[in-house]
């Protein structure tokens, strides 16, 4: 497996505070859309800054495209487009001039400027001073800046901040397109799973400075399945628990109902049949699936 970005035991501590990041080992597969989730203040921005070299690494290692950033900084940065935290721009200049400044440095074709303005929907206001832009327009410009030189890796820190619902969908579609067309790896951070779950292929969840989950989105769904339960209501809780235990299940009684971990349908039907055979009455059998958002909240609860 080749990883586009890999960190090994990355730890960080701002002066005089308790450690913020503890042994973060991220593995971002090549060509993935990688969601980086965590609540406010979890350390997402800090991690991204460490990866980009904006913060000095105190402990651990970072490799991008299989190379160490400290040794190949220039070559690596040529292939990265980033938007970290709040938008960066020169307010006294137009959107076009802002892009021109970066076009000079990246030496990409000049026509990319118009293309990018078109892509992020700022073609009409390309000549307006950026300080007169709305928050969403500034955000769009910042996304445009990240896309300008057609990088192999995009690192976007909460890119849909301040965008209207349409804008969010637009950017999501745009990123998916770029990913499938050019194989661009995209790391996208958010504090809302629902906002990015429709686009990500992989994700990592950070809480209290540690990774609490990392893997493919399918793996998260599998975990969701494991965490979902079946609720059974009967007339005799004690007897029912005894029978369920004989089946190797671990029943838990919560408020007059029994909960067991979700099992295959055939096995469930056998269990219920046995309950009937032993003369118990079964009032209700219901599957309780934990939705992803709740699961995310549970994972990020201390």
């Amino acid at each position: 497996m080749t990883y586009c970005v890999e960190t090994k035991n990355l730890s960080h501590q701002f002066s005089s505070e308790s450690p913020l990041l503890k042994d973060i080992s991220l593995k971002v597969p090549q060509g993935s859309i990688f969601g980086f989730l965590g609540k406010n203040g979890a350390g997402k921005t800090t991690t991204l800054k460490l990866i980009l070299g904006l913060l000095k690494i105190q402990k651990g290692e970072v490799s991008i495209f299989g190379q160490s950033l400290s040794k190949n900084r220039i070559a690596i940065l040529k292939e990265i487009g980033s938007l970290i935290e709040s938008p960066s721009f020169y307010g006294h200049l137009s959107a076009r001039d802002n892009l021109l400044i970066l076009q000079k440095i990246y030496q990409c074709p000049k026509q990319r400027i118009d293309e990018v303005l078109e892509i992020v929907g700022l073609a009409e206001v390309g000549k307006k001073k950026v300080q007169q832009f709305s928050l969403g327009m500034k955000q769009r410009l910042s996304i445009g800046i990240a896309l300008l030189h057609q990088p192999k890796l995009l690192m976007l820190d909460e890119p849909t901040n301040g965008l209207d619902p349409n804008g969010i969908i637009e950017i999501r579609t745009l990123l998916k397109d770029i990913n499938s067309k050019y194989g661009t790896t995209i790391i996208i951070s958010s504090h809302l799973l629902s906002e990015i779950e429709k686009m990500i292929s992989h994700l990592a969840i950070i809480n209290d400075g540690k990774l609490v989950f990392q893997g493919s989105f399918d793996a998260l769904k599998l975990k969701q399945k494991e965490l979902s339960t079946i609720k059974i209501e009967t007339n005799d809780l004690t007897e029912a628990c005894k029978i369920l235990t004989e089946f190797g299940l671990q029943p838990k009684v919560i408020k007059e109902a029994i909960f067991i971990k979700s099992i295959e349908p055939q096995r469930l039907s056998q269990v219920i049949k046995t309950l009937f055979d032993k003369g118990l009455e079964v009032y209700q059998v219901a599957g309780e699936t934990m939705d992803l958002e709740t699961m995310f909240i549970n994972l990020t609860k201390n």
């Binding site: 800054k49 904006l54 220039i74 970290i84 935290e85 960066s88 307010g91």
Partner: protein, 250 residues
Amino acid sequence: MEFIRSFESELLKLKGNIVILISILGGLLLGVAFTWRVLYLRYHINLTDNIHIWEKIFDKHSRAFVGFLIPIGVILICTLITQIEYKNNNWKQVHTTPQRYGTIFMAKFTTLFVLTIFVFILLNVGILVEGILPCLIVDGKMPVHPIPFNFFFIGTIKCFILTLPIIGFQYLLSLYYKNFMIAVGVGLTVYVGSMPGIKLGSIGYLSPYSYVLNYFDQVITAQHYWMALGYFICLFVLSYFLYVNKGEKG
């Protein structure tokens, strides 16, 4: 090549920026003020037979310029140029572009260096205007005393060298501190504090602002130009070192 591109991008950032306006106004201020005064008095250099009249004019301009305008001007130029990056979180963008830290540091420095040279050129323009314009208007002909361009050139270079410690000092401050009040506040304090400070003999030269103030007081010797140059080089190396090793780059 990388440097040229970087410098070009720095120049683009100045487009429509207030620092350009301040440089032009600052550079021409003395020329306009003195010329206006000369015109008002209807006294022009063709009325004097002092063959060192141009040197006198240069001396008058350069002392006021170096002693008062330049310290304030350099504080503003350095602060405004670095604030372009601080204002809207641009340092993090700049530091994720594929440029060596040294290139970024040098491109920015060159920008403010060039701006300062530009201001010094405007100083000379002002001197020429004060000498020539009243003669043309009042007397109807060019000054009779030949213009000592060589003297102006060497004099300007000397003044510039005395300014270098201030440039180094203010660049260091404004590069290191995000809050522009620190660069401006510390700069002004050291400048004003140096006014009585320069009376302290040789330790008076510890302040980066002492060189221009001593020029104003006309107590500069050849040795001081070397000291100013050395002072600047030390500050320059120090600010480069601090900049490259800053733990948080945006």
